[in-house]
Symmetry: C2
């Protein structure tokens, strides 16, 4: 099975563990809708790539970590799109969860996906000696004081420190994906933190760039939202040209941080391909 199919299969199994004939059917459907079809699944792919680079033998634990990270990402999208936040009508080219299922089930789908992420780790990584470290790494990246919810909460403050905001809202989960991959393979997490960190920042800058350059059909969600919502944005802070330059620097810096190991060439190729997917080289050249 190729990597992408393996990820989709593992996510689907995790969701199946939350379903039952006696469960409320609306919420079960909203949870699946929030997770399938997925986006690029970049976080779980990063997690599995790092685990492979660290020489994992059995991929059960890495799969569990990758799934939990993706569930948490999908939960954050369902809540970010709510009327009280971005009020986004579309996501991944289809109606957002609250548009399709109503606001109540969108709140609950996010809640249930957060819980499932931890339940999935408990279920699939119960035997792993790294379970406590995996739990800490994953929970820190989504909670307070510096995970996704902290990032989202910065949007409610009168003054937003751009670095803290981007690090929390995007960087933290990327860093956790890389670290969890290492932990799942029985390796140390710390050497992989910086890779995730820089990739996360690059991803956020790319998102800011796409918010001002893409059209809604390409993006699968509304464009121009950062300006509409008065949100901090690298494209607004540095200008489009400056933001593109920053993106290039971050990708190069991410590649530089990869610890020397057997999997280095594969990881480098993955990151380059993902960078090209996010910001095609043609756009970089045009703006140079």
């Amino acid at each position: 099975m190729d990597l992408v199919s393996r990820i989709e299969h593992a996510i689907s199994s995790a969701l199946a563990s939350a379903e039952s004939t006696t469960a409320p059917p609306g919420l079960a459907a909203a949870m699946r809708y929030a997770v399938f079809p997925g986006g690029a699944r970049i976080r779980p792919r990063l997690c599995l790539a790092v685990a492979a680079a660290c020489g994992q033998k059995d991929h059960t634990i890495a799969d569990a970590a990758a799934v939990s990270i993706e569930l948490l990402h999908c939960a954050s999208l369902a809540h970010d799109d709510l009327p009280c936040f971005d009020d986004a009508a579309t996501r991944r080219g289809k109606p957002s969860v609250h548009q399709a299922f109503g606001e109540r089930l969108a709140v609950l789908a996010g809640d249930a996906l957060i819980v499932l992420a931890f339940q999935n780790l408990a279920l699939r990584a119960a035997a792993a000696s790294s379970l406590p470290a995996l739990l800490m790494t994953v929970s820190r990246s989504v909670g307070m004081p510096a995970g996704i919810v902290a990032g989202q909460a910065w949007e409610c403050e009168p003054r937003v420190p751009l670095g803290d905001y981007q690090r929390a809202k995007t960087g933290a989960l990327f860093a956790a994906a890389a670290e969890a991959g290492a932990l799942a393979a029985g390796a140390e997490a710390q050497p992989w933190c910086l890779l995730g960190d820089r990739l996360g920042e690059a991803y956020q800058v790319a998102d800011d760039i796409r918010d001002v350059t893409a059209d809604a059909n390409d993006l699968g969600k509304p464009v121009g939202r950062d300006a509409t919502l008065g949100r901090p944005s690298a494209a607004r802070e540095f200008g489009l040209k400056g933001a593109l330059k920053r993106f290039e620097q971050l990708v190069a810096a991410a590649i530089d941080t990869i610890p020397d190991c057997a999997g280095t060439p594969v990881l480098r190729a993955l990151i380059r391909a993902e960078a090209e997917r996010l910001i095609p080289e043609e756009l970089l050249r045009r703006a140079a």
Copy 2:
């Protein structure tokens, strides 16, 4: 330190681990507001009472489990009170979280408290051999298919099975509190499940009764909400007299299930005192 002070102190320490000078201050404040001052803290008290009854030696793990369960309970209240659900203006005698901090921070406070519950277990129960079982027990009681979010999601369905709804919305976390107490003491969880289950149902029936008999000042939250919101309610299904009878039966049944152990008398006394606090005997006699 008495039990209640110990619980408050442990909850406060858990919240402190989510705070930092670089965290968004609004969300940190909303989280504390959602948790303090607390209600009766009945779930963590049940957890600690069962751990003591099972002969726990070191109370670190039981405290961690009790705190996580209370954080999840407080998270569910913050989300239940949201405008899209109960739209409750007050809770525990003060403005609800969304009234005090706005809807966005109320959503995020709930999310962050859910995450913190699991982070707290990872941090404080890392060394416990029961960590995987604790995680499964706690996550199952709040997630899908039969935990709190499932209970809340039944309110979004056209037909609501009263038993499944009450079991999920209230019983599951009570059962988890009892089971986690046993696990924390190194005992088997299963013999304690039924106690939590029946107490949870008794608590839900008491809540339904109070919704029709109390005044808002006594209750600290709006009354008559079940009828207004068309929610299933024992008081509406069985009538007030029938519901009071059901409450008495459930408390007696709960006491009956307590496994025979050194802590049995203390647990019995705790349950009787809590029953009297919920529904004073005078009310039972008047309705008899």
